[in-house]
């Protein structure tokens, strides 16, 4: 086993451990964790299975194996970023609705008790 293999495997293990910690602490929702776990799994897989990359490049018809990694991962990252934009747009919409509803409720409450204008 070459040195770089050992290094990637250790880093991946630390990474998976960190994701697990984030989930148990409730800082990361499981649905986002799936993507990160999958990515790490792929990395671990290829660090054990060194011939796999060459094989994959041949299957996809890529001349230089590292190019396959860059292409695949840049594509994945772009898709994931798009997904995050969708998530953030959705939460922005929810925040708008909530803020509006709170403003209306505050006004309703004020009308109901007929108390001081400035709270």
């Amino acid at each position: 086993m070459s040195r770089i293999q050992v290094i990637t495997i250790i880093i991946n293990c630390v990474f998976i451990g960190y994701i697990a910690r984030l989930i148990t602490k409730g800082k990361l929702r499981e649905e986002y964790a799936i993507v990160w776990c999958l990515c790490t799994f792929v990395l671990v897989l290829f660090s054990f299975w060194t011939k796999g990359l060459n094989l994959m490049s041949k299957v996809f018809g890529v001349f230089d194996p590292p190019n396959l990694i860059f292409t695949a991962f840049i594509f994945l990252i772009l898709i994931y970023l798009l997904h995050l934009s969708v998530v953030s747009s959705k939460s922005q919409h929810s925040i708008t609705r909530l803020t509006q509803e709170i403003a209306l409720l505050k006004e309703k409450m004020k009308k109901a008790d007929g108390t001081d204008q400035n709270d």
Partner: protein, 236 residues
Amino acid sequence: MTKILIIIPCYNEGNSLPLILEQLLHLKLPAHFKMEIAVVNDCSKDDTKWVAGLYPIVLLDLLVNLGIGGAVQTGFLYARENGFDLACQIDGDGQHPPWELIKLLEFYDQTKTNIVIGSRFLDEGGFKSSFARRLGIRYFHWLNKLLTGGNIYDSTSGFRLFDKAGVALAAEKYPDEFPEPASLVLFSKYGLSIKEVPVVMSERIAGISSIRNFKSVYYCIKVTISMLFIFIRKKA
């Protein structure tokens, strides 16, 4: 009796708000109208909330800054919930003289148009804007004609009167940033009638426009995109 809600979206308009509210409260509307005023405080950093609290009005206080679209929509939600027949947006910066509201109401009474827009460009006189802004407005006139088939000159005007159908639609879906031109596409798509009435607008009393120079290119692009997407979006 026709109940009308005046929606005043405010972001840091503490200086100009008292004058507008005074003018509005002293405004004599035709007898069959009953007016109520809602100030929407869009999380202002100045004393807007305190100033608004001094007047006998409805204060809708947003905890998070939503931008003009979200703020005005809060007013529409209030109007829908409380059964108002009409709602009119008047900007908090003093750009829209309250007495011009009567022209919109008269026009509504005669035609029962769903959306009545107070327009700067049908009449001589009043506030003339800069060349770049006029260019932008001409572009939006063209784009609006392309997408709605209507002939609206001042599609960026925020001085607009909505009837019940307009309020219901705007409460449901209203674009959040730079909503005016984009919402016209929405309204025409749902078959609401849109007409313009010439009004005289004044220069803002205080505060700064939400559309500054360096933002205007972004404005054009964003509005174009949102108009196009509202145009091709399926009706829900």
